[in-house]
């Protein structure tokens, strides 16, 4: 069993209840059950459960060679391919139309593709973080020995093996104090390579003495040596030595991954001797984690805006330096539904746990909304799953909307989020009602739904607290009143113009004060009957 096999099936990341509703929506006649979803291993997931054994066995046989079966057997098995792997199987009874099947299959493939991306992105980031953590702890364990001289040998071996370098060397200052020429304590590799490492390490130490105490790849003389990577052991105030790695001439240079690992290892070793610098390293690890969280979050934001006759959309997302957690999404409901789903939300907390929670929440909302479920049902379903899995103690506020594109009717449900603002073409404005509890707190939620009808020129503005909590030097907050005024003043313009006007007002108000929180702004404008 390979490592790949033990990762969760993308299908298992999706809510089975939402999948069941999705299948139900595609059944040719209400109540009829001709569709079912199975995992790539043939486990039942959702839909009709009572197939004749022959159908299930034949499907499982076909899973191994991935071909479609079509004949008078009364059923058809359609594998769902995502990125070259079979992520699931759609089983359909005779009588379900071809177009319906193709549409459903496309919808499922999109969902599974997203779930798989989420799984892979999360895995990769977590694996990287865990590896860096491992090296740090390894360094700490080794460095816990009182005498650096004693651990020099094992340390060079670990460094060389773990990074796949050809040679390694540890050099230390003669005593625990700074200054004095670095002396070679231990090394791995052929003497000529090691001599190059010694020269590079001494140069790096001289460079650090002048300022700068970083991991560095030094360029080597063309006549000698290959790539060299050095990392300081100890810290700026208490330099203890240098750890160096080398590769043979002509080999590829060391990359950021090796830099991170060797830095973590060297840092761990130095920690026992430089305990008061521990706080600085902690801060670096935290920043690293925040950066990972940020990358996960940004990779999951929508790439464009919906293009729909009779409607205009605008979206602005501004990330704060450290904080993550805002998200938004436009969700097409497939199959000529004439419906468009819209989510906006904010996850509490920061860093990788918050980014993962945001990604999960987004997938859950999308699964429910894609099935065309009402916003209240979407939120209730997402909440159920979040509470079941919520080991992290984080929450999310979400505003979920569903637009009926032809009629202009909009249904809205709110879980603890800032209520949207409605401004009519004629200027009348109101804030929609407050919602119920945010997601992740109660085992069940039953949000109320608000229904409004948008006419030509009407605006609906959705936002996160990054807008209303924007602050100025004089320590006030931007607030709902200023937001309302900005929208009113800009009405009559396109959605993009309204968005720009709101942001202009926020920027003018905050006049250069730092942005503390993510800011997200969605503007929906009805321009006419579609």
């Amino acid at each position: 069993m390979t490592a790949e096999d033990s990762r969760p099936d993308p299908l298992s990341l999706l809510d089975p209840t939402a999948l069941a509703e999705l299948l139900e929506a595609f059944e040719p006649r209400p109540g009829q059950q001709g569709l079912a979803l199975f995992t790539s291993r043939g486990t039942f997931v959702a839909g009709r459960a009572d197939w004749p054994e022959a159908a299930v066995h034949a499907m499982q046989r076909e899973l191994t060679d991935g071909t479609e079966h079509d004949s008078g057997s009364g059923f058809e098995a359609l594998p769902l391919q995502v990125g070259g792997e079979t992520a699931g199987v759609l089983l359909a009874a005779a009588g379900v139309g071809r177009r319906v099947l193709d549409t459903l299959r496309r919808a499922l493939t999109v969902l599974l593709g997203q779930a798989r991306e989420l799984r892979d992105a999360a895995d990769e980031q977590l694996a990287e973080r865990r590896q860096a953590d491992l090296f740090y702890r390894l360094g700490e364990t080794i460095g816990a020995t009182l005498d650096l001289d004693q651990i020099a040998g094992p340390l060079t071996v670990v460094a060389q093996r773990a990074t796949g370098a050809e040679s390694s060397a540890l050099l230390l200052h003669p005593s625990d104090e700074a200054g004095g020429e670095l002396l070679l304590q231990a090394s791995v590799g052929d003497p000529q390579r090691v001599a190059e490492l010694v020269a590079a390490a001494r140069a790096a130490a001289r460079g650090s003495a002048e300022g700068g105490n970083e991991v560095g790849t030094s360029a080597t003389e063309p006549t000698s040596g290959g790539p060299v990577l050095t990392a300081p052991v100890g810290s700026g105030d208490l330099p203890l030595g240098v750890l160096a790695l080398g590769r043979s001439p002509g080999a590829a240079p060391f990359g950021p991954r090796e830099e991170r690992l060797i830095s973590a290892l060297a840092a761990g070793v130095g920690i026992e001797k430089a305990r008061y610098h521990g706080r600085e390293l902690q801060r670096q690890r935290q920043e690293h984690e925040l950066a990972i969280g940020r990358r996960i979050q940004l990779s999951l934001l929508p790439r464009g805006l919906p293009q729909v006759a009779g409607w205009e959309f605008h979206a602005t997302y501004r990330a704060a330096r450290e904080v993550g957690g805002d998200f938004y999404d436009f969700i097409e409901v497939p199959g000529d539904s004439g419906l468009l789903g819209l989510s906006i939300g904010d996850v509490t907390g920061k860093g990788v746990p918050a980014a993962l929670m945001m990604a999960t929440t987004r997938v859950l909302l999308r699964t429910g909304a894609t099935a065309g479920a009402s916003p209240a049902a979407v939120l209730a379903g997402a909440n159920r799953q979040i509470v079941e899995d919520n080991r992290s103690g984080l929450f999310a506020t979400v505003l979920q909307a569903r637009l009926e594109l032809a009629s202009g009717r909009v249904t809205v449900a709110n879980a603890g989020h800032e209520p949207p603002i409605l401004v009519r073409a004629g200027g009348r404005a109101r804030r929609l009602p407050l919602g119920g509890a945010l997601l992740g707190l109660y085992r069940t939620v039953e949000p109320a739904e608000t229904r409004i009808a948008l006419e030509a020129g009407d605006l609906l503005v959705l936002y996160t607290d990054g807008v209303t909590d924007a602050r100025s030097q004089r320590r006030g907050f931007f607030g709902e009143r200023r937001l309302l005024a900005a929208i009113r003043n800009a009405r009559g313009g396109t959605a993009a113009a309204v968005g720009a006007a709101i942001l202009g007002a926020v920027d003018a108000f905050s006049a250069g004060a730092p942005q503390f929180d993510d800011l997200t702004l969605l503007v929906v404008r009805r321009t006419g009957s579609g």
């Binding site: 990788v352 103690g393 603890g416 989020h417 929180d517």
Partner: protein, 134 residues
């Protein structure tokens, strides 16, 4: 954010917070609560008169503090996907008996109301009445 700890007779601990409670310091509040509980504190009053602004991370902190004083260790965000401990039904749906709020600002009350967390916490405007209510 500054956090000062006082003891009232009757074994009531008071945390007076000043400044802002947000993502950058909410863990500080949770750590302080955990420490107090480990040292035997069982009743906690949070004096929020000096808190000008509470971000959504403040909600995480308040919830975690309430769980600690209900005798349950709150979930650890560091665990992420990995299972740690289940939330029990005891805490949910009831106003907390052992953690109460004193003089929260309008902004803080708004956030609690909007997110549905307001009902978990008894809010007092007078310190001696708050202390006597435990």
């Amino acid at each position: 954010m500054d956090l000062t700890v006082e003891q009232e007779p009757g074994a009531i601990t008071i945390f007076a917070l000043t400044g802002e409670l947000d993502y950058s310091n909410f863990e500080q509040l949770v750590d302080a609560a955990r420490q107090a509980y480990q040292q035997g504190a069982r009743r906690l009053l949070l004096d929020l008169a000096g808190v000008e602004y509470m971000g959504s991370s403040g909600l995480v902190a308040l919830h975690a503090v309430a769980m600690i004083f209900s005798g349950q260790e709150p979930p650890d965000p560091e665990e992420g996907w990995a299972a740690y401990r289940t939330l029990t039904d005891d805490v949910e749906g009831h106003t907390h008996e052992f953690v109460k709020l004193l003089r929260p600002s309008a902004q803080v009350v708004n956030v609690l109301e909007r997110t549905g967390m307001r009902q978990f916490f008894e809010v007092h405007v007078d310190r001696s009445a708050a202390v006597a209510s435990f």
